[in-house]
Amino acid sequence: MSTQVAPTGGSPSRIAQLREIVFSSPVVAFASLMLLLIVLAAIFAPWVTPYDPTRLSPGTRLRPPSDAHWLGTDAFGRDLFSRVVYGARISLVVGVGAAVAAVLLGLAVGLIAGFFRTLDAILMRIVDGLMAIPNILLAIAIVALSGASLWTVLVAITIPEVPRVVRLVRSVVLSAREEPYVEAAMAAGSSTWRILTRHLLPNTIAPLIVQGTYICASAILIEAILSFLGAGISPETPTWGNIMAEGRIYFQINPGIIFWPGLVLSVTILSINLVGDAVRDALDPRMAKRGIDR
């Protein structure tokens, strides 16, 4: 396991490493730029957008792109560009939120499963069971039961992602606990907590950063699918999936309602995946072979 990823905070080497990743290839540099643009657009949405994304304008329904409406308007005359920009906010919150939540939950369970062998058997059966349920079915079932809100969507997307993190952390812990330094720590009488946090946890950080980016991409995709199927955040909220779901009826009149959010969604997911691959290659080229993959 590479030692360069020890949590050293914002040291200059970290920044150099980040720069190296971003500029590792033109494709990755472009993907990073795209992500930066999308994140900035989401943060500064009220200043970037020319219209209120929820402002109805019955006079200008289903218009094609024009100077006034860069991407045209939807069935209620709302400005598509403004709605797509605001949609980025939900997607990014869900993507980052689900990645952080799944990684933290999976880390806790994975450390326990890898270290306490008696609990392992039970925990892994639960993980196998959760993995057997197709993630979209599991997510829509959770949303259907608990009602659609940003919070339930986040939970519904996070839960199916946790088992993969658990398996990853567990496998890292299982191999790391055989290392002499862990045995030495045990022999020296270090507390279990200290062994877990000081000796085993750092090994999991590099693969978890990579896995986290993939979960982020996957969560954004699933949020869009849930909204698109009508099982996501309430339809009044502009999310990429909701905009596309509304566009289905008017697809023959104005295909842009589906096309533009679909394009931005695809570019976002593609960029995150490309950056994730670059981070993986930079942190540890062997990772791809050890099953830390999408």
Binding site: R125, I126, D128, G129, L130, M131, A132, I133, P134, N135, I136, L137, L138, I140, A141, I142, V143, A144, L145, S146, A217, L221, A224, I225, F228, L229, G230, A231, M244, F251, Q252, P255, I258, F259, G262, L263, L265, S266, I269, L270, N273, L274, D277, A288, K289, D293, R294
Partner: protein
């Protein structure tokens, strides 16, 4: 060998048991009264009481669980709240489009992706390899419904080559069936091509560095023979494993694809059930989908015995 198979079968049972428990608890643990969820917003107190009685919600929770499981074992998945039909009849009525789509997708993906992966590994670092990897990353990233609508727009609406949406049973003729299943299959296939091509390439690259591959070349065997007989055969286990894991993605993908292309399959049934909060249908679909996933992966575990002789001697 028999011991290995029995062991795999025994390992699948607790997994299904957990899925059943989870699906059961999902309704019980969700906020609110299960009877109220099932009855919908407009239910009267008398209706709620009747539902509670019918579902046995007044029994202790473990009794409820065992009653429910024993019903499932007898093929009784309950009755739809919306249509009043037995859930199992609704599901069997929707099987054809889903099975057709799943089978065409898996077949097409394997036929395309395995050669792509082999070629990419063989020509590692060349433009062909990069192209395959690019297709793979794009396949992972562009959502099925985006691909689906772009294809409807181009091939159905502008070029008019295919019907826009819908499904015809294969019993009504292969032509109408094929022209309606073609675009959905293509939309769904991209993701699996990405998945399978990637693992084929990675495993091939690993195998091509093995000593016996070098020996095979040194013996003067042809390129094709080395790639196909010595290398690809040894990639069978990882490739087949990924196909099994990808089956969960197929099930999820089918739900989305059927909605885009208006195919009256299990996926549409699920989405409609979710929108109508038809809980018995949701429960049954999740259970059956997981069962299919577990059984497919069990079959794959058993297939290892034939793909990798080492397992036979364990």
């Amino acid at each position: 060998m028999l011991g290995y198979i029995v062991q795999r079968i025994l390992a699948a049972i607790p997994v299904m048991g957990f899925v059943a428990l989870f699906v059961f608890l999902l309704l019980r643990l969700s906020p609110g009264d299960p009877a109220a969820i099932i009855a919908g917003d407009a239910a009267t107190p008398a209706q709620l009481a009747a539902i509670r009685e019918r579902l046995g919600l007044t029994d202790p929770i473990h009794i409820q669980f065992f009653n429910w499981i024993s019903d499932l074992m007898r093929g009784d998945f309950g009755v739809s709240i919306i249509s009043g039909q037995p859930v199992i009849t609704m599901i069997t009525g929707r099987l054809e489009p889903t099975i057709s789509l799943a089978l065409t997708t898996i077949t097409l993906s394997i036929v395309i992706a395995v050669p792509l992966g082999v070629i990419a590994a063989w020509k590692q670092g060349t433009i062909i390899d990069r192209l395959v990897m690019a297709i793979s990353v794009i396949g992972f990233s562009v959502p099925i419904f985006v691909i689906g609508y772009v294809m409807i727009q181009i091939f159905s609406m502008q070029l008019g080559w295919f019907p826009v949406q819908g499904f015809r049973s294969i019993t009504e003729g292969v032509g109408p069936f094929a022209e309606r299943i073609f675009l959905p299959t293509i939309s769904l296939t991209l993701l699996y091509i990405a998945l399978i091509a990637r693992i084929t390439r990675t495993s091939m690259l690993e195998i091509l560095n093995e000593d016996y591959v070098r020996t095979a070349y040194a013996k003067g065997l042809t390129e094709t023979r080395v790639l196909m007989r010595h290398a690809l055969r040894n990639c069978a286990v990882p490739i087949v494993t990924v196909i099994g894991i990808g089956f969960a993605l197929i099930i999820s993908g089918v739900v989305v694809t059927e909605s885009v292309f208006n195919l009256p399959g299990i996926g549409r049934l699920t989405v409609d059930a979710v929108l109508a909060r038809d809980y018995p249908v949701i429960q049954a679909v999740i259970l059956l989908a997981s069962l299919v996933y577990v059984v497919v992966n069990l079959l794959i575990d058993i297939a290892y015995v034939f793909l990798d002789p080492r397992i036979r001697y364990q």
